[in-house]
């Protein structure tokens, strides 16, 4: 994939995207195998069931990422004049709401199980002619599936900032935290083995609260982006440095008296509205066009740029934080 809407991807992003697609397909495959393996041993443990459902839920951001790629490559049209970039955020929102809803219901289920003192039943299976406790199989399966997310979590978290893709970032973030889920389910099952029935419910509650937390974070991140919050870094922690760089570049132009910018994150690319107050209240189309082209050249994410000459800067537009307010 070389284009995203009207954005030509530079070689570094093309390479990162190719890798991200490979990693996501690998993850989907790995997760499906994990789900099938856990299905064989899920038994009567609430912690196992919760971890199992969490694995199913983790497919949503992965599939959302892949599905969004099919749509965001389309160029802008009359019907969708900004392109379809926000499909990424829509996918992010769907994933977040799914995590929130199912995580919440699992948390309630686990808490009720604890309150009602439901003792988890875990029996035996016959394996190679031996009768063994199913708990050992659960622990083994969970220990084996613990390994994968370490690798793909870190690989994806390296690619997400390069692509400025928040779904990929959130997905990587969840994968990196996945070991806590797996460890919790192992502790829950071992607890049952030692006769501590409540450890299973406690582990399930811990896992489901983790899902709720992921859901809350992703939902609020996606909603904020869909509400066109100012562009933030891929981890949504601080304002994206490009906004400041645009204003500084504009202010360096001799014809610009003052400048400010509104940048919204469309998913992976930015939509930039730059406001400039020209000296003497006039500016030529050629200068505006040159400024627009210069901003577009600053970063691959910014190809949808407008430069608007104004008499006064809008108060809500961004300007470098150290600059005095106009």
């Amino acid at each position: 994939m070389e284009r995203m809407g009207r954005t030509d991807l530079p070689p570094e992003q093309q390479e990162a995207l190719r890798k991200a697609i490979r990693w996501e397909w690998f993850t989907v495959g790995y997760t499906i195998v994990t789900i099938a393996l856990i299905a064989l041993v899920v038994g009567g443990s609430q912690a196992m069931k919760t971890a199992w459902i969490e694995d199913m839920l983790s497919l949503i951001p992965q599939l959302a990422f892949l599905a969004a790629l099919l749509l965001i490559r389309r160029p802008p049209s009359r019907t969708f004049p900004y392109g379809l970039h926000q499909v990424t955020e829509t996918g992010h929102l769907i994933a977040g709401v799914a995590l929130l809803a199912i995580g919440g219901s699992l948390a309630i289920e686990s808490a009720l199980g604890l309150v009602n003192a439901e003792h988890p039943a875990i029996g035996t299976v016959v394996l190679f002619g031996q009768t063994i406790w199913m708990g050992w199989l659960m622990v083994s399966v969970m220990a084996v599936t613990m390994i994968g997310p370490f690798f793909y979590g870190h690989a994806k978290s390296k690619l997400a900032p390069v692509l400025h893709n928040k779904v990929l970032y959130a997905d990587a973030d969840m994968a990196k935290a996945d070991w806590t889920t797996t460890a919790a389910s192992i502790i829950g099952v071992l607890g049952v083995g030692l006769g501590l029935w409540w450890l299973d419910g406690a582990a399930a509650l811990f896992i489901s609260l983790g899902i709720v937390w992921d859901g809350w974070r992703n939902t609020s991140m996606a909603v904020r982006d869909l509400l066109d919050q100012r562009a933030l870094t891929v981890d949504s922690k601080k304002p994206h440095p490009l906004s400041d760089r645009i204003v500084q570049a504009l202010n360096a132009q001799p014809w610009v008296r003052d400048a400010a910018v509104r940048v919204r994150d469309m998913g992976q690319v930015f939509h930039v509205e730059a406001f400039v107050v020209p000296h003497r209240g006039r500016v030529s189309v050629a200068r505006i066009e040159a400024a627009r082209a210069a901003i577009a050249r600053m970063d691959w994410k910014m190809q949808d740029v407008v430069v608007i000459p104004v008499r006064e800067l809008p108060a809500e537009a961004d300007r470098p934080r150290d600059a005095p307010a106009a």
Binding site: T124, T131, V139, G193, G195
Partner: protein, 153 residues
């Protein structure tokens, strides 16, 4: 990691993991297995006792329960009743085990632990017969299933 796990399995398996949270297996080992029976064809035969006499339960499934109790050094005290009465007994702690014509499709699974299905019991007629235990008494369940696997396997 795997080595650690295998050694943990051997060590913990050796000291009787899984453990019953309610101590059923310990009580059985102390000498008495309180079993409930609900009559079912040739599988479980309950004969109505004369007044003041204990219930007499026979049949292949009852024999298996007697055999299990024997391996634990316990004797069986039988109670008879409908399936629901037996499940109530299991829930309130007055029974350690219940037998009858229950199969692996039993609707009691959320009120009692259900063993794996055994279709090789004489009189099972191809049904996958299960035994009911107090919910989550995994030590008893493991011991019982191990015994049944050896007897029927």
């Amino acid at each position: 990691m795997v080595g650690l796990l295998v050694s943990a399995m051997l060590v913990l398996g050796g000291c009787g993991v899984p453990v019953d949270p309610g101590g059923t297996l310990e009580r059985i080992d102390a000498g008495i297995l309180r079993a409930g029976a609900s009559a079912s064809g040739g599988l479980v035969v309950v004969s109505t006792p004369a007044a003041g006499q204990p219930v007499d339960v026979t049949g292949p499934l009852a024999d298996l329960v007697e055999g299990f109790a024997e391996t634990r050094g316990a004797r069986v005290v039988w109670t008879s009743g409908s399936e629901e009465e037996l499940v109530d007994g299991i829930e309130d702690g007055s029974l350690d085990l219940a037998i009858g014509g229950m199969t692996d499709a039993t609707p009691w699974a959320d009120r009692a632990s259900v063993t794996r299905g055994y279709s090789d019991i004489p009189g099972a007629d191809g049904r996958s017969i299960v035994l009911l235990l107090p919910l989550g008494e995994n030590g008893t369940q493991s011991a019982l299933e191990r015994y049944l696997d050896e007897e029927l396997g």
